[in-house]
């Protein structure tokens, strides 16, 4: 597994990990060691907020992997995120056990009052953590595998792919809205109690989840880097820029695409799984096409094909969202819309574009350029 270790000798990666670790530890310290009266105290609310940002950052990294390096603009990654979230949600739901409103040992509340007499087959096994956590990866992975196989095999690319990925997430949204699906319909899954025996309502658990998100982000980032830095990563870039040429060199482009697409989907699922316990609810609105497109804009603003750019973008946009919706709600959509336009028209390389230049000089051998003909 030497290829996994490869990124560690990249400067950008070292820097990124350093910043991440410092940030997480700082927050932890400020949360635990500082007294609530102190102005530097980081409240549980803020920890939750930051944890959420980290999940979004991981999601953005996943999208950047396929868009930035493979040139596949997926407008449906929200679906993988949501599936991972639902897998986790189902686990948390089963953990409630007989503490639910109706005290039913097996059925979640919404099933009881929607008159489900027994647990639907696809809910079985989610009471076991290992199974649920496995599903967090398998469910989105399987969807990506089937969808990607069909799409890439028949060489659906560019705009067409983007549009059908959007159709996919839209269809899933409608499906999950249906109460017959047994996923709580519009309300989704909520009112969780504990995860792995830790009370979700305690600050300690919140902090734990925050740290977990940090680790997950580091892991996801490393995984993507090691793929990108490998020969496969170069093949990705090659097929992104000259697909036919890559085929003539003897590479099975569609398989490369499928592999990376599935990996990315699984990372998105992981992000979703960590997101759910921190916000305390998962419902079909995560499938909304708008959300998926928003993710893409995080990446575009941060800078494509530079994974850290995706992270920067995700955190910046969501931080902006937190402020705007707090201070001048009406302006939020203007701001977001403006971001879309600016990041595409004025900042084609994104914020990281500038930074990227420096790194590229140093690591010309194992990092790649940001210009992506979409």
């Amino acid at each position: 597994m030497h290829w996994l270790g490869r990124p560690f000798n990249e400067r950008s990666t070292q820097l990124f990990l350093l910043v991440l670790v410092l940030a997480v530890t700082l927050v932890t310290v400020l949360h635990l060691a500082v007294s609530p009266q102190h102005p530097l105290y980081v409240s549980g609310y803020t920890v939750g907020l930051l944890g959420k940002y980290l999940c979004f950052a991981l999601l953005a990294v996943a999208v950047d992997l396929v868009w930035g390096y493979l040139g596949i603009l997926s407008l449906g990654h929200g679906a993988f995120f949501a599936l991972g979230g639902y897998a986790m949600g189902m686990y948390l739901m089963r953990q409630v056990g007989d503490r639910g409103t109706y005290g039913d040992p097996v059925l979640p509340d919404f099933m009881v009052f929607m008159n489900w007499e027994s647990l639907p087959w696809y809910w079985h096994g989610f009471d076991m953590a290992w199974f649920a956590f496995l599903m967090v990866f398998l469910a989105p992975g399987a969807l990506a595998l089937v969808f990607g196989y069909l799409a890439f095999r028949s060489r659906v690319t560019g705009v067409y792919l983007s549009i059908i990925t959007q159709a996919m997430t839209f269809a899933l949204m409608l499906a999950f809205f249906r109460n017959e699906m047994g996923f709580g319909g519009n309300n989704g899954l909520t009112d969780f109690y504990d995860i792995l025996g830790f009370d979700l309502r305690s600050n300690a658990t919140g902090l734990g989840l925050f740290i977990a998100s940090g680790i997950a982000l580091a892991f996801g980032y490393l995984l993507c880097r090691s793929i990108v830095a490998s020969k496969l990563g170069r093949v990705c870039v090659a097929s992104r820029d000259a697909e036919a040429r890559t085929r003539f060199l003897g590479y099975r482009v569609e398989r490369v695409q499928l592999f990376v697409f599935v990996v990315s989907a699984m990372l998105a699922g992981l992000a979703g799984a960590l997101y759910v316990p921190q916000v305390g609810i998962i419902n079909p609105s995560e499938f909304e096409p708008l959300f998926s497109i928003e993710i893409v804009v995080w990446v575009a603003l941060g800078g494509r094909a530079t994974l850290y750019g995706a992270v920067i973008g995700a955190i910046l946009v969501n931080y902006a969202k937190t402020i705007f919706t707090g201070v001048m709600p009406d302006a939020w959509l203007f701001a977001l819309g403006g971001l879309f336009v600016i990041s595409t028209v004025l900042l084609p390389k994104g914020i990281a574009g500038v930074l990227a230049h420096r790194f590229r000089r140093r690591e010309a051998s194992n990092t790649t350029k940001t210009e992506v003909p979409a």
């Binding site: 059908i164 959007q166 159709a167 839209f170 269809a171 959509l333 977001l336 879309f340 028209v345 979409a374």
Partner: protein
């Protein structure tokens, strides 16, 4: 004339209603001098109205009959006012007034008895005399019985139709006599049916003869009742019912087809503009939905500018809607899209941003609430093919509109200089350039055209659904599906795709339910794209390389 008061009509009196209103106002003018001269009428009238001002609706029903029987000249206006909820009583001096305009806090009123103008009164001082649906129906039927005797052909027909299943002994005689001096064939036919239903209830087997083949639901109910029984009548009724069911099946099929086509034409309208911008320029315009929305809003705007003339407003809003959206389109093209030549995925993101901005703009400038667009008289209601099948007018108009727009576009594309240049640019931009075609100009024109058409779609949609900030959102994905399914840059493809998707959807809906039907259609399209990545009618050339 004698109006049987036990009779409760059961029919749609829309057509009749409007005439009653005018009729009522007319009588009002006549009524004033009459009332002024005859003093005793006033007291009598007061008494009649007093009877209305009670809590229980049964008593009110009695009071209404009393008014009708009184044959007072003002009866018509009173009932009309009562029907409209305009008959009110002053809380203090207890005199009855008719509110002529019940908007705002101060209402202009006239005296219900004398008809004198009493200026404005505060709504706080007035108590309206409530009616409910039962009373409303009674009023309408009472008012409209007049029609059966005095109304014109259509009114009589409506009235007669309403009588089916309502005939009792008392009424049957008066109807029989009415039948004598009824000239119009159709009215006679209906009166006959009405009487036949009555006779069928008396167990008259010949009645079945008259009723056979009728699709009228009341007739069917009567036959079903008869069929339950024993003996010859029952058998005859069952036979009659059987072939009625047959015809109904056919009608149902036709109906579904109509629904499909009308839904399809909406899809086509929404998508056709996209087919142009996407197909010709390879621009993924995510703001297309909002251009549709702007069209809808300009339709609303025109109605605000021309209060009282919804019809004219709708007609005017066609050019206006086109222009507004086209202009906005040009702005988008100049400000955003031209900077993203040949980067379709970027245009997708940028235009999506534009769509968000446009939405919020409407929210802050106009209102986050939906705006109400009134459907002009000539567009509301439906045309009855027969008693079981009737086509809704507004959708018929939209269909026709869609056909017109499509035809116009085909002409523009194949008969005009612009169309020629557009097609040239589509096939090979560089070549077209070198032949002296100003590609940028073509781009602007094309985008303006596509956007304008979106505006037209909006004008049409304003007659079918909400006019609100979210209007665009709900159509953008469908539009893209239609275009991709039909084959990018191929107008005919879009037409076929739109109509077929509409029909598929409507055929699926009854047994799959609305949600599943939509999901199925989406999945179908996704799979279809796997099979034929370039859609139904693939198109060669630059635009095809997504």
């Amino acid at each position: 004339m004698r109006i049987p008061c036990t009779f409760l009509g059961h029919a749609r009196w829309h057509a009749a209603m409007t005439r009653i209103v005018s009729l009522g106002l007319l009588c009002l003018l006549i009524a004033i001098p009459v009332a002024a001269t005859a003093q005793d009428d006033v007291d009598n009238g007061q008494a009649l109205l007093e009877a209305l001002d009670v809590r229980s609706f049964q008593d009110k029903a009695e009071a209404i009959n009393a008014i009708i029987e009184s044959e007072d000249e003002r009866a018509n206006d009173w009932l009309q006012a009562l029907l409209d909820g305009d008959l009110q009583r002053h809380k203090d001096d207890g005199r009855f007034v008719i509110v002529t305009d019940n908007v705002g806090r101060e209402w202009p009123v006239i005296d219900a008895l004398s008809g004198d103008d009493l200026g404005e009164m505060s709504r706080r001082d007035l108590a309206r005399i409530n009616i409910n649906n039962a009373l409303r129906r009674q009023l309408r039927s009472a008012l409209s019985m007049v029609e059966l005797y005095t109304g014109d052909r259509d009114e009589r027909r409506e009235a007669a139709k309403g009588l089916i299943g309502k005939v009792d002994d008392e009424l049957s005689d008066s109807l029989a006599s009415r039948l004598e001096n009824e000239s119009d064939e159709d009215v006679r036919h209906r009166l006959n049916q009405a009487l036949a239903v009555y006779r069928l209830e008396q167990g008259d087997i010949d009645a079945v003869e008259t009723l056979a083949g009728s699709l009228n639901s009341d007739v069917r109910v009567a036959l079903t009742r008869a069929a339950d029984g024993e003996g010859a009548v029952a058998d005859a009724a069952q036979a009659a019912l059987a072939d009625i069911e047959q015809t109904l099946k056919l009608n149902r099929g036709a109906e579904t087809l109509y629904f499909g086509l009308s839904m399809g034409s909406v899809l086509v309208l929404a998508a056709i503009g996209l087919a142009i911008t996407f197909g010709v320029m390879g621009v993924i315009n995510m703001a297309h939905g909002e251009l549709i929305m702007l069209g809808a809003y300009s339709s609303w705007m025109m109605q605000q500018l021309l209060p009282g003339y919804p019809g004219i407003a709708v007609l005017l809003s066609i050019p206006v809607g086109f222009l507004v959206s086209a202009l906005v389109g040009v702005v988008i093209e100049r400000s955003v899209i031209q900077h993203l030549k040949g980067r379709p995925l970027e245009t997708l993101l940028a235009t999506f941003g534009v769509s968000l901005i446009l939405q919020q703009l409407v929210r802050t400038v106009v209102s986050p609430l939906n705006r109400s667009v009134t459907t002009p008289e000539w567009m509301s209601g439906s045309v009855a093919i027969n008693d079981a099948l009737s086509l809704t007018l507004n959708r018929l108009y939209v269909m026709g509109f869609a056909v017109l727009v499509f035809a116009a576009l085909i002409l523009v594309m194949h008969r005009t200089r612009l169309g020629l240049e557009v097609r040239a640019v589509t096939q090979n931009r560089a070549m077209a350039r070198s032949m002296g075609i100003r590609a940028t100009r073509v781009d602007i024109m094309t985008f303006a055209l596509g956007s304008g058409v979106a505006g037209l779609a909006g004008v049409a949609l304003a007659q079918l659904t909400n006019v609100g900030p979210n209007l665009g959102q709900s159509y953008i994905i469908d539009s893209f599906m239609v275009v991709v399914f039909g084959g990018v840059g191929n107008l005919w493809g879009t037409l076929v795709a739109g109509l077929s998707l509409g029909i598929i959807n409507q055929v699926l809906e009854p047994w799959a339910g609305a949600v599943l039907a939509k999901i199925m259609v989406l999945v179908f399209i996704i799979l279809f794209i796997q099979k034929r990545p370039r859609g139904l009618f693939p198109q060669k050339g630059r635009a095809a390389e997504g």
